[in-house]
């Protein structure tokens, strides 16, 4: 990003090259070079962020705060958690107390610690999966757009049509039963299934960019596919892709949580919110005797829900901002 607080240093150097000194400008009054460089001076990156934040609706600010909190917990999980991720105490289903803030689960593991580690595992795995989905889907989508109408485009688009015709949770279940349920398989399967959606949007937005003259020029001067993809097209389709990333992340996050909840996603002893809900779900029957115990399965479920809501709020604001819509 440009960091031009006043007249930027390179502009000053340019002036000096042309035989001007800074005092010259003041003495001679008008100078065309000075005017041109003046216009180039713009708000700094920090100023832009600040302006953006001040105009953000409360929902978006709430979303941003929540997301940063999650990131903080995910990064510093070992420092923040009172106990280890898989540390077992000889008290299963302990009630909420000073020692175990949210009690313990069926094996006697501290719920709070597992919640904190879950931020790292669940969110981390969902994030990595979304990244993979974007690398695969985005890369193939732009390639298909460059090859618009060719055999590669047709092949890719038709295969994506077929993959999208099967509900993704069902498809994930089939593939997991084929390859076995473990974290690596989970990441790869969801990434491939989700990359179909990314493919569609990446292809659609880059179709508008591929026909631009500068892409034609790059092709004529003999640039390779990789250059056209990353240097000419990618920078120009970033805003819709960023918004899509948020939405896709929510979707992937919910899918992984659902699969883990069903017992075929992230496997124990890794702490994960989806499987935590399943493991402690039985406690909900005891609401009338011990309300806090009944709340235990709700905590990880609420953690999932809160993050999804937060990301949705931020994406909503981002879309609103980048589209310039007023309604």
């Amino acid at each position: 990003m440009n960091n031009e607080d006043d007249l930027n240093p390179s502009a000053k150097a340019e002036l000096a090259d042309q035989g001007f000194s800074e005092s010259d400008l003041g003495n001679h009054g008008y100078s065309a070079t000075a005017e041109v460089t003046q216009i180039r001076a713009r708000r700094s990156f920090r100023e832009n962020i600040w302006r953006g934040l001040r105009s953000a609706p409360p929902t978006a600010l709430f979303g941003l705060t929540v997301i940063s909190l999650y990131v903080f917990f995910a990064l510093f999980a070992p420092l923040l958690a009172p106990y280890g991720e898989a540390e077992i105490f000889d008290m299963s289903y302990a009630p909420w107390s000073d020692e175990f803030m949210f009690g313990t689960d069926q094996l006697g593991r501290d719920i709070l610690s597992r919640m904190i580690y879950g931020a790292r595992n669940t969110v981390g795995i969902a994030f990595v999966t979304t990244m993979f989905a974007f690398v695969i889907g985005g890369g193939l989508g732009i390639t298909a757009a460059i090859n618009n109408g060719g055999w590669l485009d047709n092949l890719l688009s038709r295969s994506v049509d077929v993959l999208m015709a099967i509900p993704s949770l069902i498809f994930a279940l089939i593939l997991l039963s084929m390859f076995g349920a473990n974290t690596i398989n989970l990441i790869m399967i969801i990434a491939v299934l989700d990359s179909t959606r990314v493919f569609r949007i990446a292809r659609a937005v880059s179709l508008n960019v591929v026909v631009m003259d500068y892409v034609e020029a790059a092709r004529l001067r003999g640039e390779k596919l990789a250059w056209i993809l990353t240097r000419e097209i990618l920078p120009n389709i970033m805003p819709p892709l960023v918004a899509e990333f948020g939405l896709r992340f929510c979707f992937v996050f919910l899918t992984i949580a659902a699969l883990s909840f069903l017992g075929v996603g992230i496997q124990p002893p890794t702490a994960d919110w989806g499987s935590m809900v399943r493991e402690t779900a039985g406690l909900i029957q005891f609401a009338e005797y011990d309300l806090t115990a009944a709340m235990t399965p709700m905590l990880p479920a609420a953690a999932i829900a809160l993050l999804t809501v937060a990301v949705n709020f931020v994406v909503d604001w981002f879309l609103h901002k980048s589209s310039g819509l007023k309604d």
């Binding site: 929902t59 049509d161 077929v162 015709a165 099967i166 509900p167 993704s168 949770l169 069902i170 279940l173 089939i174 997991l176 039963s177 084929m178 390859f179 076995g180 349920a181 929510c250 919910l254 949580a257 659902a258 909840f261 069903l262 017992g263 075929v264 809900v277 779900a281 909900i284 029957q285 005891f286 609401a287 009338e288 009944a294 399965p297 709700m298 479920a301 609420a302 999932i304 829900a305 999804t308 809501v309 990301v311 949705n312 709020f313 909503d316 309604d327």
Partner: protein, 328 residues
Amino acid sequence: MLHPVVRTILQRLGLGLITLFVVSLILFSSIEFLPGDFGEAVLGQAALPETVAAFRKELGLDLPLHERYFDWLGGMLTGDMGNSFSGRGSSGGTDRSRPVIELLAPRLANTLFLASMAAIISVPLALFLGITAALYRNSIYDRSVNALTLTTISFPEFFVAYLLILILSSFLKLFPSLANISPDAPFWDRAYLTFLPALTLTLVIVAHMMRMTRAAIINLMASPYIEMAELKGASKSEIILRHALPNAWAPIVTVIAFNLAYLVVGVVVVEVVFVYPGVGQLMVDAVTTRDVPVVQGCAMIFAATYILLNLFADIISIITNPRLLHPR
């Protein structure tokens, strides 16, 4: 020369059939892709070679690939989906395994019952909320309905489900938290037991349908003919109900059909939460035990329903498009 609508519909039908065919190929090859020898994978490492050979013969794994595929496909089409692996005779003892279709049929009826109940509650509710939100656009009512639906859209199904159990079942004791319905229960008992799962599904899909209804109507509000109606003094509700709604039906019906297709997917998690004896739960159990014939059967039913409903949505949006119906 066919009418263009008929031609487009035939094209879509053809595409749907091809998709189903590819899906069946993928499902069939799920046995092929299992790592190692399939017989050993199912029977365990300690199985005698003769047992494995007998098992392979029983499954027809000694036949060539294409022959097996067409056998399997023919079986699927005639309702013979093979036998479940659990309780299989070749793993020792007597053969207690059951045909997949026998396991599936009663559960399919249950799942359809749950899905249609959710549809009966959610579709009118979504239409009502969407139309009133468009009617009172930018009012507090509109804003709160919008914020609420945006929130429920991002909740995972099991969160909504457990929230409802906690409030309506554990505290208020209005509804049972387990929906273990029996086939011979009278209709009202079943409806009562199914109410909480149906309500969960409703909350999950109502948001999308409502937002689409509202957006479709509001999109039309900028058209000149709506302005004309306004200028001649028609009341607001009259404009929306008589002028805007008829033209908004196409996107609304499409999104309804799409959401009914989504019910098929959502139903898996909800069935597991409420221990509802449906196809979704059967499939999850089969995935964990790697009971491939059952997984194939369930997946085929889910995929077929999903594809058919999406096809239906497609066709409706084509039929209701006047530009296609009356070509120049």
